[in-house]
């Protein structure tokens, strides 16, 4: 009896063990499936599909009083443009949808939308609550007639664009797993008021505002990874180019590296704690790094050529830069401590201005195509294969990836002067001009802002 009573718990233990590590017991039985799961097959690569989105005119706008109606129109326009620019939608607007005879009943209208090829519907309404605009929007999957994301936003009229951006980012999140970039910003420098000053603007070119007023030459802005500080170069101290920091919230400027006669091209580390930059030692220029307070300056490169334009990788572990050590300016990558140096561009006689893709797998840069013209190219860091994104329209330089990796801001002479544009990384399409006043240079796209 004793032995059997000992065996019983043992038996339970064995059962538990057997259950715990149940590899599929027999190959003929249906494979284990969690109840309420779905089963899908992955057998070929598939592209993230472009979603055809029906976005009819937002009803309620015309019934609003003057200023409210203007704000509502701005909201709608901004939302439309944000979604187009996201690169994941093809929009069917009021013009294309005008051929339909809609009933207002989704069950009956859904098939009409689908007859035009739409897979999703953006149903939105705008109304007034006191002095505030209320947007209620739903993204609907037309096949299942179910809401993918539904949101309600309220804000004063001056927040119309922000409401649209916020909703657009939310929609993009639900389709791509990454937030949209509609709330990001681009830093640049411009001579529009007679001096070269640092500016910043919304990602779509709206709300351009001045960051510096040194009335000297200020250039080469670089965002910190947190989006609260811009490092830049300025000559205003009189001793040659030096590095400064601008705090965005307070507007406060502070010196970063001012010793020496030439400090240039700062690049924040992604954690915002260090800055890589170029410093001249006599006729030679090398890459250096310092802490955020300007202390701990260390030299990273040691070559006879000129080393410039460092760009810190998104992981913080590598730095790309331009060096002429081989006889012509080419891109190199090294570990952030200066070791493990390797050259990554071998085509073209002049490659410069590296910007990392947010996933750290690619570099965008400018490559010279004839004596005075550059084009933007993207280099795959594994295969070292490069793909040209611009061709035949002016000189294109200074690329900067958006934080979702879908767009690149750059400068181009295609419209006269030097202006800032943005385009799709996939194929250089969907080009949009972001600046028009004066000449504008060196766009640097912020990380996601809070």
């Amino acid at each position: 009896m004793r032995s059997s009573s000992a065996i019983y718990p043992l038996c339970l233990l064995v059962v538990a063990l057997a259950a715990a590590q149940t590899p599929p017991p027999e190959t003929t039985a249906p494979p284990p499936v969690a109840p309420q799961g779905i089963t899908v097959v992955l057998d070929r690569s598939s592209q993230v599909p472009i979603v055809t989105l029906a976005f009819p005119a937002i009803p309620g706008t015309s019934a609003l009083p003057g200023t409210a109606a203007n704000a509502a129109r701005e909201l709608e326009q901004t939302l439309r443009r944000d979604l187009e620019r996201s690169g994941i939608f093809e929009l069917l607007g009021p013009e294309q949808l005008g051929v339909l005879t809609l009933t207002g009943d989704l069950e009956r209208d859904a098939d009409q939308y689908r007859s035009l090829g739409a897979a999703m519907l953006l149903a939105a309404e705008v109304e007034l609550e006191g002095d505030r605009l209320v947007l209620e929007g739903r993204l609907v999957d037309l096949a299942s007639r179910q809401t993918i994301v539904g949101k309600r936003y309220r804000g004063t009229f001056d927040l119309a664009r922000r409401i649209a951006h916020t909703f657009a980012d939310e929609i993009v999140l639900f389709l791509t797993s990454k937030r949209g970039i509609a709330m990001t910003a681009i830093a640049l420098y411009s001579d529009r008021d007679g001096h070269k000053e640092i500016y910043m603007m919304d990602y779509d070119g709206y709300d351009q505002r001045k960051v510096t007023a040194h009335q000297s030459i200020s250039m080469s802005p670089s965002w910190s990874g947190q989006g609260n500080t811009i490092a830049y170069v300025s000559y205003f101290g009189g001793k040659g180019p030096a590095l400064y920091l601008a705090d965005i919230a307070s507007g406060k400027k502070s010196p970063l590296v001012t010793e020496g006669t030439f400090n240039a091209s700062p690049s924040f580390s992604p954690d915002g704690r260090r800055v890589a930059f170029a410093r001249a030692l006599g006729a030679n220029i090398e890459i250096f790094v310092c802490d955020r307070d300007g202390s701990g300056v260390r030299r990273l490169t040691n070559s006879g050529g000129i080393d410039m334009n460092p760009a810190w990788s998104p992981s913080g572990q590598e730095i790309a830069f331009t060096s002429s050590r081989s006889g012509s300016p080419q891109l190199y990558v090294m570990d952030a401590e200066g070791s493990n140096l390797r050259r990554v561009t071998f085509e073209g006689e002049y490659n410069d201005g590296a910007s990392w893709s947010p996933d750290g797998t690619r570099l965008a840069y400018a490559t010279r195509v004839d004596r005075s013209r550059f084009d933007i190219a993207v280099l795959d860091l594994v295969s070292l294969a490069a793909k040209r994104l611009t061709a035949g329209s002016g000189s294109n330089e200074a690329p900067s990836f958006s934080p979702d990796g879908r767009r690149i801001a750059f400068t181009s002479s295609r419209a006269g002067g030097t202006q800032i544009f943005a385009m799709s990384v996939a194929d250089g399409s969907d080009v949009e001009q972001l600046t028009r006043e004066g000449s504008n240079w060196a766009p640097d796209w912020s990380a996601y802002l809070r």
């Binding site: 309420q36 779905i38 089963t39 979603v51 739903r138 994301v149 797993s177």
Partner: protein, 246 residues
């Protein structure tokens, strides 16, 4: 005397030893038997309390590809090759309350009432004509649509979002590099998608028999976290996915 005493003692010892050995043998044998029995029975026993699985293995083809290559309302030919023997019951999509859910309202329309019968008693597929948007590629003017034409059914009748499956497959396939093994290799990866798109419990639920293939498939899925958040109208906290990687 001393010899006989010791031999007697030895004899007793032998007998004792033989007796305990026999007992041990019996215990060991019965334990083995129990273990085997337990291993065989346990999964069935444990599975029993669960409702019969509504499991239908279906081939899902990204709608975009169908829209381009298969303008006719015919499921892609390879469907016949799917090794799963169960026929595909039509989900009762029409039975879902189809009204546009109101985001202000906290409550969803009632859940779809009857679930399709268990696959053990497959029902004949409904004529596709009556459920054009349920199965097959879009027809006619719908042919060009990029998304949203569900071309497959799910064993979870609550999950009706073809677009989500398209996005998921596209994101995973971007991370998937097939090892150089021959054809006919297939690994099953199981995982749960949380509301916010995070993946949990990624594991091999059925090995391909080739370790490198299993691990590559596993890595492709793990590298795809997070996926997009689950659609708002889908009310469960998570979604289980059985991914068959070929």
């Amino acid at each position: 005397m001393t010899g006989s005493v010791s031999s007697v003692l030895e004899g007793r010892l032998d007998a004792q030893a033989a007796g305990s050995f026999r007992r041990a043998l019996v215990v060991a044998a019965s334990l083995h038997f129990i273990v085997v029995l337990a291993a065989w029975v346990a999964p069935k026993l444990l599975a029993e309390p669960q409702p019969p699985l509504e499991f239908v293995a279906v081939r899902i083809v990204p709608a975009a590809r169908l829209g381009v290559e298969q303008p006719k309302p015919v499921p892609p030919a390879p469907e016949a090759k799917a090794p799963e023997p169960e026929p595909v019951p039509e989900p009762k999509r029409e039975s879902k309350a189809p009204a546009l859910p109101d985001p202000k309202a906290k409550k969803e329309p009632a859940k779809p009432a009857p679930k399709p019968p268990a696959p053990a008693t497959p029902q004949p597929a409904a004529p596709p004509s009556s459920a054009a948007q349920v199965q097959g590629a879009p027809t006619g003017a719908l042919a060009g649509m990029a998304l949203g034409a569900p071309v497959a059914t799910f064993d979870n009748p609550d999950f009706t979002y073809g677009y989500y499956v398209d996005q998921m497959l596209a994101m995973i396939s971007r991370n998937w590099t097939r090892p150089l093994v021959g054809g006919g290799v297939e690994a099953w990866i199981h995982f749960e998608i949380e509301r916010d798109g995070t993946l949990r419990g990624v594991r091999i639920s059925r090995s391909s028999g080739i370790n490198s293939f299993d691990l590559a498939a596993l890595r492709a899925v793990q590298a795809s976290s997070p996926l997009p958040p689950l659609p708002r109208a889908y009310r469960e906290d998570s979604l289980g996915v059985n991914l068959i990687v070929r």
